[in-house]
């Protein structure tokens, strides 16, 4: 009977030790993000509002283009041979960009930065289609990258996909 109680007592004593309690109560890394996050909030609202406004403007311009699925679009999406083509269904990238510019960005920044091929986000037959969920996530990430460069690096394209991803789909924790 006594032997049954003693381990319990020992366990209680171990957990009641102040050192033990302290470690449990204070997660070490989160403090930094919490501390940094709090003051950044007020300034945060404006950039996101701008971002959505930008995205909205592009979205307003693009639905017509996105709705019509004409054959030249397919070529442009897959190969990017026709340099003068207008890309379809742009929601984050500037509407002024040509298909060639979009392709260049996708290949040299996004695909290289994440170490993936086009099919990670795109449907092979229709690059403008949004049916792959990863494409939606990628849009948010591009908008995030743009926001970082605008707000913290004086609009200079300092941060790219590679800065965090380091050639991998999921950045190291």
């Amino acid at each position: 009977m006594v032997t049954r109680f003693v381990p319990l007592l020992a366990a209680a004593a171990l957990c009641a030790a102040p050192g033990c309690k302290k470690d449990n109560a204070k997660p070490s890394a989160s403090a930094l993000t919490d501390a940094a996050g709090a003051p950044a909030k007020p300034g945060d609202a404006a950039p996101t509002a701008k971002l959505t406004a930008d995205a909205g403007a592009v979205a307003n311009a693009s639905p017509d283009a996105g709705a019509k699925s004409a054959p030249p679009g397919k070529d442009a999406g897959a190969g990017g041979t026709a340099t003068g083509d207008k890309p379809k269904n742009l929601k984050v990238l500037p509407s002024s960009w040509t298909t060639a510019k979009v392709n260049d960005y996708m290949k040299n920044k996004v695909a290289k930065g994440l170490g993936v091929k086009c099919d990670a986000c795109h449907v092979k037959d229709d690059y403008a289609a949004d049916s792959n969920k990863k494409k939606l996530a990628a849009r948010k990430m591009i908008a995030l990258t743009d926001g970082i460069n605008r707000d913290f690096f004086k609009k200079k394209p300092t941060v790219t996909c590679f800065t965090c991803h380091k050639g991998k789909e999921a950045p190291a924790p």
Binding site: A35, P39, A40, F152, C164, K166
Partner: protein
């Protein structure tokens, strides 16, 4: 025989735990709130800040004197300290946006810097 031994052992363990608890150093009790805080909330404990700063120095591969005057850590005379403040604000902003966008991942200094003062872009 074995039961008495185990009882003794457990009692000894309990006594040891109690003793270590009594004599363990208490960082928060002796520490004071940090001075000249501009990104951390006012009154944040020095011990807590120090813990974070160790992570910062590891992520950038630098020592304290990279940003701090070693005679007075709260001084702002080294420009890099203000850059670091901006970076900490940026990390907070990025993590806020990531959370808002439904991503579970968070960034910290190491995510971009990966052990070097200047991240490869």
């Amino acid at each position: 025989m074995t039961t008495t031994r185990s009882i003794l052992l457990v009692c000894a363990l309990a006594a040891f735990a109690w003793a270590t608890a009594l004599f363990a150093p208490r960082p928060t009790a002796s520490a004071a709130p940090g001075k000249n805080l501009k990104v951390y909330p006012a009154g944040t404990d020095t011990a807590e800040i120090k813990k974070d700063m160790k992570l910062v120095s590891k992520a950038l591969g630098v020592q304290c004197d990279f940003c701090h005057d070693l005679d007075d850590f709260s001084k702002d005379d080294i420009d890099k300290k203000n850059i670091a403040r901006g970076m900490m604000k940026m990390v907070g902003s990025i993590n806020g946006k990531l959370k808002k966008d439904g991503f579970k991942a968070e960034v910290k200094c190491m995510t971009c810097h990966a052990g070097s003062e200047k991240p490869k872009s």
